[in-house]
Subunit: 381 residues, 2 copies
């Protein structure tokens, strides 16, 4: 596939150094980390090393890391596992959360909890005053993502966590889109739990982690042999965990370059988008450096994504996480964007492999496609 | 590591053909299967192909396959997801189930269900009469494994499923240890749900599946973007799923050879064990061809495993799934084995890479270690 890949918030290519670190665990006999023989011990040590690498990238300690198979699983563990230990009250989550957070909260309603979303402003930021008001009711858990997967908008998680802690409540943040893109420090965020994932940072699919305050009580989502201190049973995916560990280390080393490179490309991109009178969502808020979520009035996003795909550009219409849905982005609706404009949304999420030339050529093709689609639409009218 | 690997029921080496099939998904930019662009479509098609391969190996249809990250997760999904849809009654499971089944059942007690184990006889086989008696009480789900991970003993799952269905109840079987070792046919087993896993059949860690009767109602364990028909959300682990698919196909092709090769080695092994007056657990029952679980009176299993490891043989003391435990095997205790003898248990689980020479040399080393340990023990006494 020769397309230009502009969909790094959906998934990323495994770094060749990461794959090299994984291959010994896939090419030769490797052990089950629970086995006591030398194969098992070697696997256990590899998992321990990766645990330290993930912890370091998150500003946490190794014994705070619980490995899971995906960010979605880690978010389910956080919402269901933490709330499950608390008296049944509200589970509060921002109106722009990934569905694995919001739907986990809704699933807990079967057990007597109330799932309630916290409104966001036109830039997609949680309203601290509204959160403070909501916290007056008995609250089992609050979950606010650090960086939005569609808009890239950053939340003041540390500030919100202060509000939550002041009421003696528990705070989780989904930092899947933040890891590797901004400085990430579990302790400074002041949360009780934080989710990170491998395949968004040039690690393999199949590994993620929930970082936990060690004093926090939490129930497992998956019971069994008692791996991960009993919090997540199942044979560890050793190769994927090893890859995740190294991907974390590399992402930390590369962070400054990543930020300057992707921000420079996005600035170039958005200058072009502004010239096309595009609406760039969340652009007045602090955002991830690599993400631009925009719409052109009168153009349907899904149609444009397919047209750009044929031209050789892989972009997204909203998140990749609900492909079967043709509904407009729930994130944009929560931000008060009109449904028609929301249907036009396109997400470009850049990576370090992307270039100035790719962005320039993309802008040209985008302009051509917009012209073509507007003509078609004028002819149909 | 130059050790001889005799622990194939714990995990297996990835077949080089499987790894070759996985590598394109790890070496180049691959997409999120939920993405609509060409990278996403290619990933989606690869997952669909693997789904058909897994279904074929299980005697099922592709649309009955729900991919998960591990057999443990699939068993949790089965127990919690199926029972969760039923009125709260008993969850019955055999006394020799893997802890991911029994502990999932116990976890459901918090939601009003009763977890109850079905006794087994001295060979580890479920007593059908006792199951029939238990089924007179309201029953949400019955789960009986097809092949035991420690003893290799096979259950008459189809016969038990008839009893369960006659009462209008639902039957699940954990077939993780059966896939690739015996003929497996979902329809003939007559169950509503069946668990299989990749890394036990020379596929990668990180992929498994729950095979489902399409008419069965089931709740997801992991909510989110709605992947796997809403039954298991989270970005698919494409490379692992591709590997699992091919591993299933290869295991089906290789089954006759696998059975004759491992059974021949086990016969050789057990002839030697009988000469040492070992007790071979479950040997009067039909068993997997590759598994031998035995004890020598007066020898502690854990000590022997470590001694054999130093000699270059990777064997297990019971299952690999509870390494932190020094308790005797719960499977053996359920079979009525005396605690002292159970503490001596050693599991050898063979694979096609193992040879006559390896088994012969192992028997020699085993005899030496037993003599040495008995001398030490006599000196200490």
């Amino acid at each position: 596939m020769n397309s230009v890949y502009f969909d790094h918030n959906a998934t990323t290519q495994i770094d060749s150094r990461v794959l090299d670190a994984m291959l010994p665990w896939m090419r030769t006999q490797s052990g089950n980390p629970s086995s006591r023989h030398q194969f098992g011990r070697a696997a256990r040590e590899a998992v321990a090393q990766a645990r330290a690498q993930v912890a370091a990238a998150c500003g946490a300690q190794a014994n705070q890391v619980v490995f899971t198979s995906s960010g979605t699983e880690a978010n389910n563990l956080a919402i269901k596992g933490i709330a499950g230990y608390q008296a049944a009250g509200q589970i509060l989550y921002s109106a722009v959360e990934h569905p694995c957070v919001s739907r986990s909260a809704v699933a807990m309603q079967a057990h007597g909890y109330q799932a309630l979303s916290i409104p966001v402003d036109s830039q997609g930021k949680v309203d601290a005053t509204q959160l403070a008001a909501l916290l007056k009711q008995p609250t089992s858990l609050v979950s606010v993502m650090l960086a939005n997967n569609e808009t890239g908008v950053l939340q003041d998680v540390a500030g919100l966590a202060n509000l939550v802690r002041a009421q003696g409540r528990i705070m989780h943040t989904d930092a899947v889109q933040a890891l590797g893109k901004i400085v990430l420090n579990f302790n400074e965020l002041n949360v009780h739990a934080m989710t990170v994932s491998s395949h968004k940072i040039h690690g393999p699919q199949g590994a993620a982690a929930l970082i936990l305050d060690k004093r926090l009580d939490i129930q497992p989502l998956i019971n069994g042999g008692g791996q991960e201190r009993g919090l997540r049973s199942g044979t560890e995916n050793v190769a994927a965990i090893v890859g995740f560990g190294l991907a974390c280390e590399l992402a930390s080393q590369d962070l400054a370059h990543y930020q300057s490179h992707t921000l420079s490309l996005r600035t170039q991109l958005e200058a072009g988008l502004n010239a096309m009178n595009a609406v760039i969502f969340g652009s007045q808020a602090a955002r991830l450096p690599n993400t631009s979520f925009f719409a052109i009035d009168g153009i349907e996003g899904e149609t444009l994504v397919m047209a750009l795909d044929r031209k050789g550009y892989a972009v997204a219409s909203g998140s990749a996480c609900s492909s079967d849905s043709t509904e407009p982005s729930a994130v944009l609706l929560a931000m008060g964007v009109e449904e028609d404009l929301a249907r036009g949304a396109i997400r470009v999420s850049l990576g370090t492999q992307n270039t100035v030339q790719q962005v320039a050529a993309f802008l040209q093709h985008l302009q051509q496609e917009i012209n073509r689609l507007k003509q078609l639409s004028a002819m149909a009218a």
